[in-house]
């Protein structure tokens, strides 16, 4: 009967010759390589925080714009249209309220005013003068 205790206790697994002479240097080289790799971060690793920051602000600006249009944009547009409509309507309203007599009277008054505004002396001087430049001037 074979018992475990009957078998000599030994480690039968051997490493290749020279393995342990070179291993410390290999490990040191790998550690140095990893240190250098850690010291030189890639482009994305460097700019990642800034890209996230920029993206955050673009998203924030977009949301602000959408929110602004939703809550105030429609009201603002409606106010502009309402004001424009009101002005046009009031102009029409005022025009309708002026009677024909009032308009004719205003035209006649204008003509009368112009005639009466010229003093008599001016009229005489005008009719007697030879210099026609003043005629041109008055016209």
């Amino acid at each position: 009967m074979k018992r475990l205790n009957d078998i000599p206790k030994k480690d039968p697994f051997k490493a290749p010759d020279g393995y342990f002479e070179t291993l410390p240097d290999k490990v040191r080289d790998r550690i140095q390589a990893e240190k250098q790799a850690d010291a030189k971060p890639g482009f994305f690793a460097v700019f990642k925080p800034y890209l996230y920051f920029a993206g955050f602000f673009i998203a924030l600006a977009f949301l602000f714009k959408v929110g602004l249009n939703t809550f105030t944009g429609d009201y603002h547009d409606q106010q502009i249209i309402a004001n424009q409509t009101e002005t046009v309507e009031s102009e029409y309203f005022e025009y309708d309220m002026i009677s024909e007599e009032t308009i004719y009277a205003a035209i006649l008054a204008e003509n009368t005013d112009e005639e009466t505004e010229i003093p008599e002396e001016t009229m005489i001087a005008y009719l007697t003068q030879d210099d026609y430049s003043s005629i041109l001037y008055y016209e």
Binding site: K2, L4, K9
Partner: protein, 182 residues
């Protein structure tokens, strides 16, 4: 320089004086013991080499966090076994759709191993160990070859000492039964 410093002196040097040289001394001191522990779990030299290098790099990166109230080699051994177990987990995923199990591949590696230094009986013993369930195999290797105490194994494998004793007992029985065959 003196290459036979004790652990405390190496640690002191690592923390204050010349960390790279201190670590070089540490690797020189423990590389063979760590290699042997990992090799018994993974069998294959190439896999052992990969895991041992990863283990040593992890040790270097975390040596500053090591608390001097425990044994340095126990701490390093724990890292080595955890790395080996992580390696096995990854390897087992590769064998999910294969007709061959990972354990079968280890037995194949054993027979193809040109660095195996033992007679037919030694090879049969290793076969018997490789046929054990993974936990029993780990417990057996730690107790039989690495001479760890149950408390230390308990800390590494997060298993009660009672369960470990039972595992070891079952492992020895299975191995002896396998050795009696033929």
């Amino acid at each position: 320089m003196n290459e036979h410093l004790d652990d405390r002196e190496i640690l002191e040097r690592f923390r204050t004086d010349n960390p790279d040289y201190a670590f070089h001394l540490l690797v020189k001191k423990y590389q063979e013991k760590l290699y042997a522990s990992i090799r018994k779990v993974l069998v294959n030299h190439e896999d052992t080499n990969d895991v041992l290098q990863e283990t040593l790099i992890k040790i270097y990166q975390n040596l500053n966090t090591f608390r001097s109230d425990s044994q340095l080699f126990s701490w390093m051994y724990r890292i080595a076994i955890n790395e080996a177990l992580g390696f096995i987990r990854k390897q087992k995923r590769k064998y999910v759709f294969s007709s061959l199990s990972y354990e079968d591949s280890l037995i194949q590696s054993l027979h193809a191993d040109s660095f195996f230094d033992g007679d037919a009986l030694q090879k049969k013993l290793q076969e018997a160990i490789l046929k054990l369930p993974q936990k029993q195999r780990l417990v057996f290797n730690m107790k039989y070859y690495d001479n760890l105490k149950y408390d230390e194994i308990s800390e590494i494998l997060k298993t009660s000492t009672g369960a470990l004793k039972a595992s070891y007992h079952h492992a020895v029985k299975k191995i002896e039964k396998y050795l009696q065959e033929d």
